[in-house]
Structure formats: C-alpha cells, structure tokens
Amino acid sequence: MAQPLPPLEQAPPPSVPVIDMPADWRDYFALTKPRVMSLVIFTGLCGLLAAPVSINPVLGFTAILCIAIAAGGAAALNQWWEADIDGGMKRTAGRPIPAGRMPAANARDFGIALSFTAVILMGLAIGWLTAVILAVSILYYAVVYTIWLKPRTPQNIVIGGGAGAFPPMIGWVAATGHITLMPVILFAIIFFWTPPHFWALALFVQTDYAKVGIPMLPVVAGEAVTRRQIVVYAVLLFPLSLLPWAIGATGLVYGVGAAVLSAIFLGFALRVGFRHRSGADDAMKPEKQLFGFSILYLFALFGILVADRWIGIA
C-alpha cells in the first residue's frame, strides 16, 4: 500500500538533507580531517623527538596518539558547527554532514567523545600539564577559532593559527614535563607560518568564502592588503625560524636548513606579494605554488629540527 504523503508543514526544509542510511565508518574517519591530522601528527612527533630528553617509546606513541585523537575531535566539532558553511562551498560540500550522509548531532557527539578521550588518556599516561595544554588547544580550535573568530573577523586566520601551533609544544612538553623557551618558539613558528599559508589558499578560493559570508582577508580588505600581509608574515617568519639556532638550542644543520627554506618561502611570498591578478581567468599559479610550498616548508623545517638533534646525539 502506498504511504500517504506527510503534510506540507511537517516536510523537512529543502536545505536539510534526508538521511536514509546510517553513516559509514569512513564518514566518521573523514570527520577527523585525516590530511590536516597528518601535519598535526608530524609536528607533534617532531616536538617530541627534538626535545633534549628521551621518552619511553610506548608513552611517546601514546602522546602522539592523544594529539591525533584530539585533532580529530576538534575537526569533527568544527564540521558540526560549520555544516551550513561547508555545504555552500565546492571544496567542502562533499563532507559527511553537508552531503547528507550523517546527522550533525552525530558529528558533535563523536567530536566530544574523541576530545575527552584524548585529554583523559594524556593526563593519565603522560601528565596533567600536557593534558591541560591539549585541552586548551581543542577549545582554542573548536571555540575561539571556529565559533568565535572565523565568522567575525578577517584576522581569524592569524589568531586561529594558534590552534595549529600547539602540537609541537605538546610533543615537547610530553617529553620534558615542562614548558621552556624552545616549545614557545616552535609554537611561534607555526603561528607566523599560518597566515601566509591560509591567505595563499584564500586568494585562489576567495569566491567560495565570499559566497558563504566568511570574512576572509581577501574578501573583506581586498587582494592588495592580503598580498602585503603575506609578505609581512613571511618576513617575520625568516628570523623566527632561525631563533632555535640563535639561542643555541639547535646546531648548524638546522640553522643552514632553516635559512635556505625560509629564504625560498620568502621568495614565493614576495612573488605573490608584488603581483596583481591579470583578470578573471588568472590561473593564480604563484599563489598555488606558495600554498604548496608552505606545506613542504613546514614538513622540511621540522624534519631538519629532528635530524639536527639526532645528528648531535650521534
């Protein structure tokens, strides 16, 4: 027998996807933003390995696992809060919630569960100072960045960048048990690296951000200001990346490597900073190159940091 149609007022609004299948485990995995997580794991691991004391391998693995779980939890909370925004952008419309494969409440509960698990395990296995920093990093990303700053200010990326800057600091503190100048410098390196990295992306996907009303700098202040700001942060990053060597915390391998990498990064940033879009069909190649190299830069810089420490031991 045919089912009667529901009354019009009971029908869901067209923007709410009808979910007739349970979410796949792959959808839950996708909520954790695995590609972002890989960078978080890498920088956290580098902070742990570059610390001047060694840690039991099982505890070291647990610390990195906690950082990864926390990053996954924060990413799930971010996708829960931004489901409407994600649905309006081509790059993110295929995510589980906007694509209609999962109810938003599931993502929220999953994010909360992961976050609590990570913090409690970190506290019990490693130490409560590390657990507190981990909890602060989750709140910083999920509340300060996602809920508060991102929809309100074009400086969202600058302050929100602090969320991504926590992993190496957490890795270092997990190994040593206390905060010193070096983990703060590692934090600052990622903090100053984030604006040029994200603004390069925002320059070539800015139409998407404008469509959903996110006040990214290129949308609010224009391309010229964004390009100038990219150069400013790249210039500041250059001496900052050399600071670990300058204070004697690393050797010459890191010093030379950081100088070369930061010079190349600055070169890419200057190319972006002193050009103008040639027209609507501009391929934005320098901006895409800066974005691509910025990821390589961070992997290479932290890789050299660890290499320098282990060469020093050998």
Binding site: M21, P22, D24, T62, A125
Partner: protein, 42 residues
C-alpha cells in the same frame, strides 16, 4: 529504482563494517592501556 532488499543489504553491510571497526578499535584500546600501564611501572 532501488530494490528495498538492496537497500536493507546496504544498511546491514554498513552497520556490520562499523561494528567490526569499533571492535578492532576497542581491542587496540585495551592493548594500549595494558602497554601504558607496564610502561608507567617500569
């Protein structure tokens, strides 16, 4: 048009896969807690 039995099969497959993943994660969790306990004692 999707056959209702196909839809049920797909639903059951998704639930079964999710249960397997959950069981594996729980087993690894137990191993991890065991390993951490030993590491903390040593």
């Amino acid at each position: 048009m999707t056959n209702p039995s196909d839809s049920d099969q797909a639903r059951n497959r998704i639930i079964r896969q999710k249960n397997i993943v959950f069981a594996v994660v729980l087993a690894l969790w137990v191993v991890l807690i065991f390993a951490v306990s030993i590491a903390k004692m040593s």
